[in-house]
């Protein structure tokens, strides 16, 4: 099961920048060398200031491994964040960025692992999972998959159209959006919620009962789990899955930050 890592730094060119939400931008990077990767892996990015000072950070690939010529990254703006604020404030199409990868091999998914899978993510934690879901979609995999995606509001649901389209066309893919910020009373959104038009959305944090209900809907108990997001989120979701009876070694985690 040995995996090679692309050892050397290469220069990638930013080909597009897109506001995916108020706090997350998508960046497409064209790589100098075609670099095959697996869904769920990340790359290291390195910035160098004119005085030689350097900063490195890791970012997960959101695009499908079926298209390895370029990679898409979803970078959330962290307040006072050294690297994420540079990406949000300064990076434009045509800019060059040093990168190396792919890195990581445990938090990866391929349709060969023909086990029903549950994916749980918070905010930008969708990034590596989006690559998995896009890969599942493009390979026509019929592995049952459940995504529980926690965001503050509807506007924070990254890749919303694409996820809803997948859920609409694929009976084996179940999508649950958990919204943690209660909509303002009287807002259009709150009215829709009251009228029950929100469908697959839950107005609370992901909890054990939400997970149990989603498993029941999937109709089969997942045998593999991927959890990604902030550390506390990952910790509590892993505990929910253990309590729901999933085996310890079936749960894979990726933690983005404190």
């Amino acid at each position: 099961m040995s995996q090679t890592v692309t050892q050397t730094w290469q220069i990638a060119t930013v080909t597009s920048v897109h506001d995916e939400s108020s706090r997350v931008k998508l960046f497409t990077l064209e790589l100098a060398h075609i670099t095959p990767f697996r869904a769920g892996q990340h790359f290291d990015l390195r910035l160098t200031a004119p005085d030689g000072y350097q900063a490195q950070r890791s970012y997960s690939v959101t695009s499908s491994p079926d298209e390895p010529n370029s990679i898409e990254l979803a970078i959330e703006l962290i307040s006072e964040g050294e690297v994420s604020s540079y990406f949000h404030e300064a990076v434009e199409p045509g800019d060059k960025i040093e990168i190396r990868g792919p890195i990581g091999g445990h938090f990866t998914w391929s349709p060969v692992a023909a086990k029903p899978v549950v994916m749980i993510c918070g905010g930008s934690g969708i990034a590596p999972i989006m690559s998995m879901l896009r890969h599942r979609n493009s390979t026509g995999s019929d592995v049952p998959a459940l995504l529980l995606f926690s965001t503050r509001t509807v506007a924070d649901i990254l890749f919303r159209d694409e996820l809803e389209t997948m859920a609409h066309h694929d009976p084996k893919f179940h999508l649950v959006n958990a919204l943690t910020r209660i909509p303002t009373i009287g807002s259009v959104f709150a009215k829709k919620f009251e009228q029950g038009q929100i469908g697959r959305r839950e107005m609370r944090r992901i909890d054990r009962s939400m997970i149990d209900a989603a498993f029941a809907e999937l109709g089969v108990k997942p045998a593999r789990a991927y959890i990604c997001g902030g550390s506390d989120f990952v910790e509590s979701m892993a505990n929910h899955l253990l309590n729901a009876g999933m085996a310890n070694n079936s749960i894979r985690t990726e933690r983005f930050g404190p």
């Binding site: 004119p50 490195q56 060059k96 091999g105 445990h106 404190p258």
Partner: protein, 200 residues
């Protein structure tokens, strides 16, 4: 390659050098490949094997009955953060080997953990006070998410070598890759030489 618009400086700035490519972290981030292991102290045990032969085995009480060592050190995680001035208490691997009445092994050692995690290091890197089993962090019992009740600590290597929820150390003549090493992370992992991935 210079990024002309990049002038960043992460706060806080380190007061003394940290390894290349690292930044200083005030908190104590958690990194694990899977769920936090929940281990009952009453059921905890730890063994040392040398060439497939068990030479020593300790319970929580017998570990605590050994000479305790305090260590003040910096930590360096391969995910780029470093944390300075951490305080740990535990038992050196030297003390465990002496308690087992065996000579200091040479070669390599594989650390194995509850949950199935493994990592490999040269034997020389856990002896002479360089490796400890720690159970106390900053004067408090080590929290489960940081590897409690007992983790390995080898602070001069990247933190993935300091295996959480440690169960055993197996000394052998041959080096073989552990969990992350099989996925392309460095066999040795010296942060000062920035040995993150296989050929670094």
């Amino acid at each position: 390659m210079i990024n002309n618009k990049f002038f960043g400086r992460r706060r806080p700035e380190p007061s003394r050098p940290i390894p290349p490519g690292q930044y200083l972290e005030d908190g104590f981030p958690v990194l694990s490949a899977g769920p936090t292991q929940r281990i009952d102290i009453a059921a905890w045990d730890f063994t040392i094997e040398i060439n497939d032969k068990t030479v020593g085995s300790w319970s929580w009480d017998s570990l605590n009955a050994l000479t305790q060592s305090d260590i003040h050190t910096d930590l360096h995680c391969v995910t780029k953060w470093s944390k300075q001035d951490t305080d740990w208490r535990g038992v050196t691997i030297d003390t465990l080997l002496a308690d087992a009445g065996v000579e200091t092994p040479t070669g390599f050692v594989m650390a194995s953990c509850d949950g199935g995690y493994t990592t490999n290091v040269p034997a020389a890197d856990v002896i002479d006070g360089k490796g400890l089993l720690v159970h106390t962090y900053d004067g408090e019992p080590l929290a489960a998410e940081h590897g409690g009740p007992v983790r390995l600590l080898i602070p001069h290597l990247y933190l993935w070598k300091s295996a959480k929820w440690i169960k055993s150390l197996k000394f052998t003549d041959q080096d073989s890759p552990g969990f992350w090493e099989r996925y392309g992370y460095h066999m040795y992992g010296d942060p000062w030489r920035e040995q993150r991935y296989t050929n670094d």
